[in-house]
C-alpha cells in the first residue's frame, strides 16, 4: 500500500511539471509576452521613475531573462527542495528544507501564498457543500428511477436529468439571480458575496436576543450559499443520477440480488445492503472527475455571484497577465485534481474489498 502511494505521488511530479510548462509556454509565446509593463501603471509618472520601477520589477521577478531561465528560476523557487539564493540573487547552495516560495503576485503585489490562502478555502467550502449534495440527490433520484424502470418516474427523470445537464451554468445563474434575488420578483436570497456585513457582528449560532431572532453567522452563510450551490450542483447530480440508475439497474438483476431475494430478504434490504453497495463503484470512479469540473464551474458561478474564490482569482489573474499567480493556480488546481483521483482510488478499495493496490 505504501509503495503504491509513494509511486502515485512521485508520478504526480512530472504531471505537475508538465502542466506548468504548458501554461508557461502559452504565456511566453503570446504576442505581449511577460513583461513588467503590467506592473507599472502608466499615467502620472515621470519617464525616469517609470524606467526605474521597470528595472526594479525586472530584477525582482527576473523578467528580463530568457524564458527557459525564467521557468527554471520559478521552478526552483516553488519546489520545496532546491538551490538557495543569497541577498544578491546568486545561487549559493542546495537545500532540502528551504520550503516553497510561490513568489509575489504582480497584480496584487503580495505573496501568492497569502492570496491563495484566502481564496482556496472559499472555493473548497463551495465544493464541500456541493459534492455531498450532488451525491445525495443523484442517489435518491437514480435509485428510484432504477426501481421504476420503464415507468413514468423513470422516463420523466431520465429526460429531465438530461435536460438539466444541458442547461448552461451561466443561463441558470442569471435566471436564478434575476428571479430569486431581486426585488422585482422574489427577494429570497442575497445577490452577492458569501456573508452579509451584519453577520460579522452576530453570534455564530442562531440566537434569540431580547426576544428578537438573530440568524447568526452560520445561518447567514448558509443563506448566501443557496443559489451558488444550486448553480454548481445541478449539472453534477443530473449526470450522476443517470449513472446511478444504470449502475443500480445492472446489479438489481444480478445473480446475487436474485439469491438474496430468494433467501427471503425484504426488497429494501436487498436494494440498500446488497445492490447499492455494489453500484457505488462507478459513482466513486466518477467522483475523481467531479472536482475539476466543479473548479471549472466555480469560474462562472463565482463570477455571477461575486464570490471571491479561486474561480474569480483565475479570471483576474489571466486577465491581468499575472505570471506567478497564473502558474500557481494552474499547478494547485492540477494538484487538487490529482489528489481527487488518488482519493477516489482509495475509496474504491474501501467500497470494494476485492480491489487492492500493492
Amino acid at each position: 500500500m505504501l509503495t503504491y502511494l509513494l509511486r502515485r505521488v512521485l508520478l504526480m511530479i512530472p504531471t505537475l511539471l508538465g502542466i506548468t510548462l504548458v501554461v508557461f509556454s502559452v504565456m511566453v509565446l503570446s504576442p505581449g509576452g511577460i513583461s513588467a509593463q503590467t506592473l507599472v501603471e502608466g499615467s502620472d509618472m515621470k519617464p525616469q521613475e517609470k524606467q526605474a520601477l521597470m528595472a526594479y520589477y525586472n530584477q525582482r521577478y527576473g523578467l528580463d531573462q530568457p524564458a527557459p531561465i525564467q521557468y527554471l528560476r520559478w521552478l526552483n523557487n516553488v519546489s520545496p527542495i532546491g538551490f538557495t539564493q543569497d541577498a544578491e540573487g546568486d545561487y549559493n547552495g542546495f537545500s532540502f528544507t528551504k520550503g516553497m516560495d510561490l513568489g509575489m503576485s504582480f497584480m496584487y503585489g503580495r505573496p501568492v501564498r497569502e492570496i491563495l490562502a484566502e481564496r482556496i478555502p472559499i472555493t473548497l467550502l463551495l465544493n464541500a457543500v456541493t459534492i455531498p449534495l450532488i451525491y445525495l440527490i443523484a442517489i435518491i433520484v437514480g435509485v428510484k428511477a432504477a426501481q421504476d424502470r420503464g415507468g413514468r418516474f423513470d422516463v420523466f427523470s431520465n429526460v429531465s436529468m438530461l435536460a438539466l445537464w444541458s442547461v448552461p451554468t451561466m443561463l441558470a445563474g442569471v435566471l436564478l439571480l434575476g428571479f430569486f434575488a431581486s426585488v422585482q420578483h422574489f427577494q429570497w436570497f442575497p445577490t452577492a458575496g458569501i456573508s452579509s456585513r451584519a453577520a460579522q457582528d452576530m453570534p455564530f449560532l442562531p440566537h434569540l436576543l431580547n426576544g428578537e431572532f438573530v440568524p447568526g453567522f452560520l445561518l447567514d452563510r448558509v443563506w448566501h450559499l443557496v443559489l451558488p450551490v444550486i448553480c454548481l450542483s445541478y449539472a453534477g447530480f443530473a449526470g450522476l443520477a443517470k449513472l446511478t440508475r444504470t449502475s443500480v439497474l445492472e446489479n438489481l438483476h444480478a445473480d446475487y440480488a436474485r439469491t438474496a431475494r430468494a433467501k427471503g430478504l425484504a426488497e429494501p434490504d436487498v436494494l440498500w445492503r446488497h445492490v447499492f453497495r455494489n453500484s457505488l463503484l462507478p459513482l466513486i470512479t466518477v467522483s475523481a472527475g467531479l472536482l475539476p469540473s466543479l473548479l471549472a464551474g466555480s469560474l462562472i458561478v463565482e463570477n455571477i455571484f461575486s464570490i471571491n474564490g479561486m474561480g474569480q482569482l483565475a479570471v483576474e489573474a489571466v486577465k491581468g497577465r499575472d505570471r506567478e499567480l497564473v502558474l500557481s493556480i494552474t499547478w494547485i488546481s492540477g494538484f487538487l485534481t490529482l489528489i481527487g483521483y488518488l482519493i477516489a482510488d482509495f475509496c474504491y478499495t474501501l467500497a470494494d474489498p476485492r480491489v487492492s493496490y500493492d
Partner: protein, 617 residues
Amino acid sequence: MQKRLTTKDWILYALIAVLITLLLLVMYQIDRQWLRLTEMQTALQAQAKDMRDLRSAVSSGTLARTDNAATATTPAVAAAFNRAHAMTQQAGYAQGDWSVNAFGNNLKTLTPLVSSDAYASDVQSYVLESLITRNPDTLAWEGLIAKSWQVSADGLTITFQMRDDVTFSDGKPLTADDVAFTFDFIMTEAIQAPRDRAYLEKIASVKANGKYEVVFTYKEPYFEALSLAGGMSIFPQHFYEPYLKTPQAFNESKGLLLGSGPFQMPDPKGWTPDKGNVELVRNERYWGDVQPSYNRILWKIIQNDSARLTTYRNGEIDAYGARPKEYADLKQDPQMMDKSQHFEYMPPVAGYSYIGWNQERGGKPTRFADKRVRQAMSHLTDVQRVIKDVFLDYAEPAVSPFSNTSKQHDPALQPYAFNLEKAQALLKEVGYEDRNKDGVLEDAAGQPFEFKLTYFDANEDTKRMVLLLKDLYAKAGVKMIPFPQEWPVMLESLNKKDFDAITLGWTSGIETDIYQMFHSSQAKTDGDNTISYKNPELDKLIDQARATVDEATRMPLWQQAERIMYDDQPYTFLMRRKTLAFIDKRIHNLQMTKLGLNRGLLPLENYVPAAQQKYQQ
C-alpha cells in the same frame, strides 16, 4: 465472515458526527465572542486614555481657557464647514446610520502613495485631510487645516498658518512638522510614490516655522502652486516615520491608513484585501467644527454589473451609477423611481474621451502623421451621432482637452462636424483612392486604408461606439478593425506605442494641464504623449502658460494652445459624459454644487433622518 455495517452502526456514526460538529461550532462561537471582547477592551482603553488627558488638561487649566475663548467668539464654525453646519440646522437632521457603497473591483491596497486606483483614493479622502479645500459654491480655496495663507509676490513661497486644535484620529496633535514630514516622506526615493513625486518635484522645500506655520518654497513659478501645496494630504509623522527605515514594508503594505479626517480605519494597520469590504468608522476625536453624520462608511465589492444593480434595488447599497441606456430605462421603472432620487449632471472635472492617432510606429511616420488625414478622420467621426445613439444625449461634444465651461477654452471654436464630402476631399488630396474597387481606399502604393482601433474591452458603451464608428468610417472607404484589449495589455501597447489608433479618456481638473499628453518632450521617452505628437509652437505655449502664475495672462496662452490643437487634431476629441446616478431616498440634503453632486464631498453634507435610518451601531 466480513464485518458489515448495520443500520444501527450508521445511526451511531451519524450521531457522533453531529455531536462533533456541534461541539466545533460552539467552540468557534466562543472564540468569536472572545474576539469581540478584545475589540471592546481596546476601545475602552482608548476612551480611558482620552479621559486621563482631559483630566490633566482640566487640572492644568488649558481647557478652561479655550472654553472661554470659544464662548466669547460665538460663530465657531470655520468657513469650510459652513455648508455642513447649515445641514445640521435642518429640521430632520440626525446623526447615525451608515453610508453603503459598492466598488466594482477588488482593492489591492489602501495605503496612500502606493495605491493607484480611484477606489482607494475614494476611501483615503475620508481619512486624510489637506491644508485647504475648494469651496463647492465658489470654487475658491478655503482653509481646512490651514487658517490662512500668504503667497509671496514672486509666487515662489507660500506660507500657511494652521489651526492649533487639529488631532489625528489616534489623539496625537497635527502640527507643521507633520506637513514637512509628509513632503520629505513622499520625496524619499525608497518610498514607491513616483506619481506623487512627479507632481511635487516643483517644490524645493517644505519647512515648519514654529509649531503651526509651514512654508512651501518652489523652485520655479508654477501656475498650480497653491493647489499643489494646499491639496497635499497630511500624514501623521509618528505613524509613518518608522517606515522610512523599512521602505519595502511600506511599499508592500495593504492598509496603512491613519489621518485626521472625520473617519478612520477600525484598525489603521490591519486591513487586508481579503476582507473584501472596506469599512470606516467615525473618528470619535474628530477636530472639525461639524461632526460627520454617518457612523460608518462601508464599501462592498460587487463585480458583476447586474448584481450591483440588483443589490441597489434591494436597498443594500445607497447609490448606483448607471450607463446612459440603463439610466433612460431605469427612469421608467416605478420600483426604481420609488426608492431613488436621480441625478444627471456634468461635473466640471468631467474627463474627455478621445481617439488618439498614432503618428509614429517603429521610428517611421504612420499615415496619421499627415495632418489632413487626422482632420479627415475627425470629420468622419460623427460625435453628435455617437452622443445621440450611444450616450442618449447624456454627453456633450469635446472640442479640446479644456472643458467648455473652463476659462482655458476659446468659445469661438466649434467641434468638428460630420462632413463626408470634406473628409473624402481631404483624403483624396493626400492620395487615397479606391484603386481596386473593393470599397476600401488605397494609397499611392496600393496599401488599403485599414487600421485597428484599440479600446478597453470591459466598457460596453465604448464597444457600441466603436462599432458605430466602424460603420461611419466604412462610408468613406476606411476600414476600421475593432481591437478590444484587457487593461494591462492596453497599457503595454500604449507604452510601447504599439497601436494604430486608440480610444481612451483623460480626466481633467478645474484647470487642465496638457503638458504630459501633448508636449513633445513627453513623446521621446516613456511619457504620456504616446501618439508621438510634436509641434514646437505648441510646446512653447505650454511651457509659457505653465510658468505664468497670473491667471489673466495665462488664459490667453491656453486658448492659443487650444487653437493649435484644434487645427492639428492630434486626437479626435470625442465628448464629456454626464454622471448619471441613482441615490437612495433616505440620503438627504443632496445638492448640486459647482464641483458636482455634494455626495461624498468633505466635510460631509448628507444625512439620514432618524426615522429612515437602517443601520444601528
